[in-house]
Point group: C2
Chain length 418, copies 2
């Protein structure tokens, strides 16, 4: 089927999704989870074929992301059941006014219509994204990476079976067959078919969407996150936060890439930071962090001199750029110039510095004395997430079910004219 | 000054705007209103020069929109004072959670940063848009039409004087000097400078923004609005609503362009509709409405046969396309295919038909038994508006102050790591 035909089917199915009751959507999600488990052998066979074809073509880290197992499939089914258990984001009355002329105006949350997601090779995104979009009352068009296509097709076949069991149209869930750049471009420009496009992937994909899309896009996931260690920081807290933000999972978008250190505590802090991130980690057999140092930091500790791009790079690796600043204001200005607006933190015991930082740093999540790694739908109490928005329009930070809906006004009268 | 220089100034001023207190912003707005009145002679002189240059170049309707008077300037000042009186949309705590790990997570409304508005020749938009953007805590970049440039420059000079009086940076309000297409394109692609672009104008401008913008855009204002007169309609209400929606102000976006009539009442309704919109109006000396009829309607009343584009045209004139449909479902399907998603209405006494219509029609405002002309910030109780959004992302329908803000998360901890 062509991408246009898929989009037409999805569009035709969105009315049924929009008017499905909460109970019906939840029944469909339960059936999708069951079907996923029931299809485990077929999904594993498709995944084995994907793995076979990809071996030698992609890195071991990517291969590991691609690999499925009985346990991972059970985890995906569990994820769908968790979405079923969340409150329905559709039909919330966000505002209710009765006007002097008798008009009753309600602002009500409604589905987007058709949500398209472009992602890469993690098969679990297929079921997560489908469950979230469908629970949010929208039809869902998935376009995954070519390496995972057989796996995704087997997963989608199972999920569609579940949808149909509950009396909802299987056409509400579509997997784009073409995995070339052409289909990505078709989705980006499918005005009238795609109500919301969410790219989940590397910086190149996001940039391509921002530059080429004519449909509504929510940018996700690029994170150059900063930890600013203030003059009034508790250095123990700072050490723990920087290590956690850098090392607990360096490949994710909420990991820290840059540490800014106030000049007044730099001589006390930087040697301890280096000990914590390099020697201590090596001694425990953990990967040490490579420090890329600006001139002032390099005067205090050994490390790699920072190159011109090191304060604008999402390393996604055991690398941390370190810079000494003269003031909280300089830190804030550096963040304004270099942050991707994802998550930035201050470590300080000074309430005034914290207040200035939270009011002037213009990022989706601004932290005081905590690791940036908490920027996550589950950690924020949203129950799940479709991704982390780094744009300002519509949704910022972790996008849960509510952020996947829009609203409209329903105005009820008795013949009012103006 | 080049557009880039203006944008740099606006960007530099956004911190001062973002941290300004409500009291300071309101003081600035009052001073802006006063300065506008004090500058009346200079503004009228600039406007006279604009009018002089435009005469013969633009239509009389456009000339009337361009014209200022002492009364109109006083009205603009009053509009600014009304914005000052509205609640501050910045700093609202939209959500407050304390997580089991002790993190306190607040979702707080914050300014967009820099809001750019591209508009056409109505000088009052200059002061309205500036007042709204500044009250919403953002710097504001205005790019008006060339015909009104002298007027806009005189108005902006007055407004900036007011801003400075209250200790806020005059640079937070910018008027783009270049009024060619080049500056519009510069704003559309000013990633890193413009946080939100709002085009206010004709369909061509909106389309150009959707196609070319790489910054976040909110589409406004194109309205192909429908009134569906159901089989169970109260025909008196239907006549009043259709006449009001079509004729009370045909040049605005919430005016109706299409009337869909259920077959069962077409023979009873259409002759009365024709009488109401043509003979009755002519008899009162009012402009009669030209009816463009589909085949079934043309079999019942005289009128112009509808051409192929008549159900996809925003006439903005005393013209109404009329079509007979077999069912509410056909009306809903027609609206799905032809509406711009602005405002669509059903006239019916049947609650079930009303419910199906409001749940299936996917427009910013969906009406039951009321005129589409109520889609307006003031009529909706928002106090004012920046425009009517016809997109689904971020804001739908009338955009008041809240819709001009975004939010972010502030997460306060005591050293939490993940």
């Amino acid at each position: 089927m062509t991408t246009l035909q898929l989009l037409q089917q999805a569009r035709a199915a969105r009315g049924a999704m929009a008017t499905a009751s909460t109970e019906q959507k939840n029944r469909a999600l339960s059936a999708m989870a069951e079907a996923l488990e029931a299809h485990t052998p077929a999904i594993l066979a498709a995944n084995a074929a994907d793995m076979e074809a990809a071996r030698g073509q992609i890195s071991d880290v990517m291969l590991d992301r691609l690999a499925l197992s009985e346990g991972r499939i059970a985890g995906m089914a569990e994820g769908i059941r968790q979405v079923a258990a969340l409150p329905d984001p559709v039909g919330r009355v966000l505002r209710h006014v009765e006007r002097p002329n008798g008009l009753v105006i309600e602002k009500v949350s409604v589905p987007m219509g058709v949500i398209a997601i472009i992602y890469e090779s993690r098969p679990n995104v297929t079921s997560d994204a489908a469950a979230l979009a469908l629970k949010a009352g929208s039809a869902c068009v998935l376009r995954g990476g070519k390496e995972a296509h057989r796996s995704a097709a087997a997963i989608v076949a199972a999920l569609r079976e579940g949808l149909a069991t509950a009396g909802l149209p299987a056409e509400a869930l579509q997997l784009v067959e073409d995995t070339t750049r052409k289909s990505a471009n078709e989705l980006m420009t499918a005005v009238g078919y795609v109500d919301l496009l969410i790219p989940r992937g590397g910086a190149g994909l996001i940039r391509s969407c921002v530059e080429n899309a004519t449909v509504n896009v929510i940018e996700t996931g690029t994170g150059i996150c900063h930890i600013y260690v203030d003059a009034a920081a508790d250095l123990e807290k700072a050490l723990a936060i920087v290590e956690n933000a850098k090392c607990s999972r360096p490949s994710v978008c909420n990991a820290a890439e840059v540490c800014l250190v106030h000049r007044d505590i730099a001589a006390a802090f930087l040697p301890r930071l280096r000990g914590r991130l390099t020697e201590d980690r090596s001694a425990r057999g953990e990967t040490p962090v490579e420090l890329r140092l600006d001139e002032a930091a390099a005067a205090l500790i050994p490390g790699t001199p920072a190159g011109p791009d090191d304060f604008d790079t999402e390393f996604l690796d055991y690398i941390l750029a370190v810079k000494v600043v003269d003031s909280a204001e300089e830190a804030i200005a550096h963040i304004a110039a270099h942050s991707t607006g994802h998550s930035d933190a201050i470590v300080t015991e000074d309430d005034d510095a914290a207040r200035r930082f939270t009011s002037l740093v213009d990022s989706a999540a601004v932290y005081v004395n905590a690791s940036t790694r908490f920027t996550d739908g589950g950690e924020f109490g949203l129950g799940c997430e479709m991704g982390i928005s780094t744009q300002k329009l519509h949704a910022r930070g972790p996008m849960g079910l509510e952020e996947l809906t829009t609203y409209h006004y329903i105005v009820r009268g008795s013949g009012q004219i103006r």
